[in-house]
Symmetry: C2
Subunit: 339 residues, 2 copies
């Protein structure tokens, strides 16, 4: 039985959306997942329609969106997030999920759950859609670590490979390095070094390194894993997100502000546009996963609604079922023994 | 009389598109611009329909797209790009424009035209559309310099300010720093330092620093100038470009591959979609300008057609008319005297 520790008080629509999402996930699951909701019992209990496979653990503090992460995790010892992380640390749950303060979630992951042996900086992996198929690609690090060293990025490549194999079931995932051009000599000093080292790992058969990839091509299925330092990854990801949304909104606006012609056209194209919007809807891809901790930590958008939480919990169950933590431990344990 | 030195052999559709673009620009101008086409006279001459304000300077070598930039500029001494850059250096033209090999253009700018005194690394400035108005915003450095130091980025802020004032006629342009969050403490070590220094410059009244901006918001008019190191700028820019194009293409595909319903809807929405496509069409924004040289160098896309060249030449004339080079020289000359 998989157990997911959920910060029921985190996110703009908590606890309502979190509880509703957990119930949706429970209804869709094979009764093999237990959802443990951490938060204010008085608020949460009346929201639960059916208590099957749902537990509530009372927590009378909440870490707010604008709380300073390290301070909040250290001081608010009875916060829902802190208690949920402790449950994971103590083996009472397999992984942690929150839609709350991202920084605090990472700090709780690092300080309470703890890093896995052999990994110096955990990385955030997100799955994004591509235009050409329904599978999408993953990016790691999407922004956990702004000051990445070459060594960190090489570990992200390995983490991305394992995630793709074990969770996404891609046999021999393509690993590309986000860079400012596709030629091998592109990039700043660090990225040229990363390329060199990744190429060596490729030649040694450790991973399927396909070379540099550009942010512009990511939505066109150029790679299964886009490896990057967290600062660049964040910029590329936010550029992609912002621009896709801007175009979709411009189309909506021109339909809404238009005359009969635009409105009729919009009506006729509605199913097609809806399909595109669904394809580009990152929330369906289940949130981002912080990898490299003793247990995975899953972050969903602050504005997650019940459906977003539902997808994220499905994805969480897949991660828990995938034996990913074991796979990562084996890889990095073996690496350490070699050294 | 403004004189523009044009590499007529650079770009996928050279020399046809370059010549046609120059004639379009000439026809639309007030007879105050001279277009000097550098390239193979035998190829170019028959393409020119009307020689008014158009000169041809023969060059019997061409730098190809895949030539190694430094080597090509040094070895191909009779290349169209090299001769055009020499004309600018010698005062025979006011600025240089090419749709060819970007690296070679930058190398020609640095080695032949030369850096302006006081500027350590030139920066590439591009103008992009925003959703909310027709003015757009500029990003500097969009990718000239992958290994930027804090000092370089502070100069980009000043260059961006001067460009916005003198060329784009924005009185007191907002200067934002691209970072991985809007809070002052965001970013890696370098970006935190950049923030600090930009804030000081803002407090000293040297520029209107509005703080950090995120790549996701750039298309929503959050700033007039987005300052960034060239590596991050490149990733953000390519993310934005790639994603906007991907969404537009998905819509086109679903109309083309759809049934009667989608085709009719597409037909009705055609003017609205065309307007959006035009708004997002970066080629209308006149190419990117390498700032910090003794004369501006303008780069347009390799796949530029006559219309792209036309826009870029209009933009080039605006830059030449704006007295930008003088403004930059004054600013950085004064800076140096203070030190």
């Amino acid at each position: 039985m998989i157990k997911i520790a959920i910060d029921a008080m985190g996110g703009d629509y908590a606890p309502q959306a979190i509880v509703a999402g957990a119930e949706l996930a429970r209804d869709a699951s094979q009764n093999d997942v237990e959802y443990i909701l951490f938060g204010d019992q008085q608020q949460i209990e009346p929201l639960v329609k059916n208590q099957e496979h749902i537990q509530i653990v009372h927590a009378d503090e909440v870490i707010e969106m604008d709380d300073e992460p390290v301070r909040a995790v250290n001081k608010k010892k009875r916060a829902s997030l802190v208690l949920a992380a402790q449950a994971v640390r103590d083996g009472e749950a397999d992984l942690l999920l929150s839609a709350g303060n991202t920084g605090a979630l990472m700090v709780a992951g690092l300080l309470i759950i703890g890093r896995m042996r052999g990994i110096s900086r955990p990385g955030l992996i997100v799955t994004l859609p591509v235009v050409d198929n329904d599978q999408g690609f993953t990016m790691i690090d999407a922004g956990a670590n702004a000051d990445a060293k070459v060594e960190n990025v090489l570990q992200y490549a390995q983490l991305g490979k394992l995630y793709s194999q074990l969770v996404r079931k891609i046999d021999n995932p393509r690993i590309g390095l986000i860079n400012n051009g596709t030629e091998p000599d592109k990039g700043d000093v660090n990225h040229r070094k990363m390329y060199e080292e990744l190429e060596k790992m490729g030649q040694a058969g450790e991973l399927n390194f396909i070379g540099n990839v550009e942010a512009r091509d990511l939505l066109h299925n150029v790679t299964d894993v886009a490896v990057t330092d967290g600062f660049t990854g964040n910029a590329a990801l936010k550029g992609i997100e912002g621009s896709a949304l801007a175009v979709v909104n411009m189309i909506k606006d021109s339909i809404n502000d238009g005359g009969i012609r635009e409105k009729l056209g919009g009506l006729l194209l509605k199913p097609a546009l809806k399909q595109i919007a669904q394809k580009m809807d990152y929330t369906r891809y289940g949130g981002s996963v912080l990898l490299g901790l003793k247990a995975p930590v899953i972050k969903t958008h602050g504005n997650s609604n019940a459906k977003t939480i539902f997808y994220a919990l499905q994805s969480a169950a897949e991660v828990a079922n995938s034996n990913l933590v074991h796979g990562i431990a084996m890889q990095f344990h073996a690496d350490q023994q070699q050294k």
